[in-house]
Symmetry: C2
């Protein structure tokens, strides 16, 4: 098991709970803003801001977080560190803007989480530049979806953490991949055999509670990241329509699916063709399946956008909006404070891991 | 955790190892014959014969197993029981032939594992008839791929075990599903809430060793089933070409994929459209992706069939044959005796589950 990494993680991020697996919140674009991110870190995890492809406001977000913390500090945070991370979508985010925001921030973000480069060599550039801009204070987390890319990232970037994302994850991920059930152990074994066993693995995809967390640790992870679970948090920046859809969905392998339809309808272009998005299926998806042409579907989508929460339907009918979420939706029934989610998931996981 | 079911499983199948999770071998058509099946049961698990859609020789298989056991008994087997199971593909297998084989067998198979009915009501018919034909000695295992079908099977058939198959599984399964990371806990919770928490769950899909097994137990299973791992067993009835392909494949989420192409090329019709098959990708798949028409692809497939092991290629080139396997292929590097696989997986799992 990867418990040997708990010590190195606690060293790198001294505010995290030392005796439970590391719990992180995924960098969900527009949703993982400062309140959610800080709440997760405050509870002994690491929250990640959703930088997405637009990091133009990153400076002000880092400043906002710094202000909050100056009046309400989190204990055990090293002097020059901001105890949160920033996630970026590499194919689209501006490296100069990211570097500039890091340089201008009095406190350096604890980590930058890199996802979806156009070319894998971009990860080398980003890793090098972020480390330089932060005087090596900011750690590099790289998200991967195949064993090959995990090995390549380890070899070329020496990341501080590898985020191992499986097929159950919500939002964007590889069109083709396996779940962490086999992916995580295979990465763990390959990295260990190749001399990269020192890199902690953070598992993502389908994990919503202590059971999935403990399972991930047994499979080789030192920590986990949750997206969907935090969609149903008090602090998430999310519309009621979207959040209610997450709460009401059940049978996660049936109610969610990987597809490109939602990006096409909302005009999100730029994702490499090896990626798609997992979300809760609704009329936009089913109408396309039934032969509706994309122009018409897009027209209906744009109307739905104007309807606010009603874009997610009413009484179970008429939902068309993008509702990215993972297969764990069926296990999520209530909105909770992010800090409570972190504590409960970590404690439940630790109970499983320390049973005799 | 589902450890409370260990006791009831040991009661129903008294030869199984009492202090480790139940390890079973999946009923792989043509591959899971008597030697593999008996070896797994002999090692304290439960082996399942691959009845498939053709149960015309089931009588002779049960007789063969009975003969082996009369000269070399497995300890702790109840008097009238054959300590193996039989898996059937319900949309195609003959119920009368199955019933007849059970009635004519001196010893009744410990379980019949039902998979892929055309209509879910067929499961009720099969469950009822098998129980009747065996004087209630043969247990009913039902394999499911959605939470809804798990609940419906529980409600209508009162199965003795539910096999919960996730998206990583090799061979046939649902086109659309999630992995056991979220599927297993969701089934566990729903069944418990609905009063069916007494039904043990056996997890399948992506599990090849003690890590996956322990993870499955934490997620809610009382046992597991492996297919791919047993493809690489001494006793499996499998060609060298197929077995070598399993040993050499890595990056299971990249080297395997769910597809209908192999069934189409080899003329296997009859599977409901909600099913496809996960296998190791080779030229048959890639040529179709690149636009080859099906008639030409089928012609090449039929030539490959005649080549024996060379149908799986040479020096990494020219493989065209069906090579059903799960995402766990990357973790499988050597052929082992099935009994050793059972023992090692069970012991490794138990180490994880009893750590303090």
């Amino acid at each position: 098991m990867a418990t040997s990494h708990f010590a190195s993680l606690t060293q790198d991020y001294p505010w995290i709970s030392p005796s439970t697996p590391l719990i992180t919140s995924a960098p969900m674009r527009l949703i993982s803003t400062v309140p959610l991110t800080l709440a997760v870190s405050r509870a002994g995890g690491i929250g990640f801001l959703g930088g997405g492809t637009d990091v133009s406001n990153l400076s002000s977000l880092l400043h906002e977080a710094t202000q909050f913390l100056s009046s309400s500090p989190i204990p055990n945070v090293p002097e020059k560190i901001l105890p949160i991370g920033v996630g970026v979508i590499v194919w689209g985010a501006s490296l100069p803007s990211t570097i500039s925001a890091i340089q201008n921030s009095k406190l350096k973000p604890a980590a930058v989480w890199l996802f979806a480069p156009e070319n894998s060599t971009d990860l080398v550039t980003w890793s090098t530049e972020v480390r330089k801009a932060s005087n090596n204070l900011t750690k590099i987390w790289i998200q991967v979806g195949t064993v090959q890319s995990a090995f390549e990232a380890a070899r070329t970037c020496n990341p501080d953490v590898l985020v191992v994302q499986g097929s159950d994850a919500g939002g964007h991920g590889l069109v083709q991949s396996s779940s962490i059930i086999s992916f995580l152990p295979e990465v763990y074994d390959v990295l260990k055999a190749q001399g990269y066993g020192h890199i902690p693995l953070v598992a993502a995809g389908g994990i919503v509670d202590g059971r999935g967390t403990a399972a991930a640790v047994i499979l080789g992870a030192s920590g986990i990241s949750m997206g969907t679970r935090f969609l149903a948090s008090t602090e998430a920046e999310i519309s009621n329509g979207y959040q209610n859809a997450v709460l009401h969905a059940s049978d996660g392998g049936v109610s969610t699916k990987r597809s490109t339809v939602y990006d096409r309808l909302r005009g999100t272009t730029g994702w490499p063709s090896t990626y798609d998005g997992r979300g809760i299926l609704n009329d936009s998806f089913f109408d396309e399946q039934n032969g509706m042409n994309e122009a018409e579907n897009r027209r209906l989508y744009e109307e739905a956008v104007k309807k606010g929460d009603l874009g997610w339907g009413k009484d179970g009918k008429g939902a068309r909006m993008t509702t990215y979420a993972g297969t764990g939706v069926g296990l999520i029934r209530e909105v909770r404070r992010a800090g409570e989610i972190v504590n409960e998931v970590a404690e439940e996981a630790q109970k499983f891991l320390s049973r005799s």
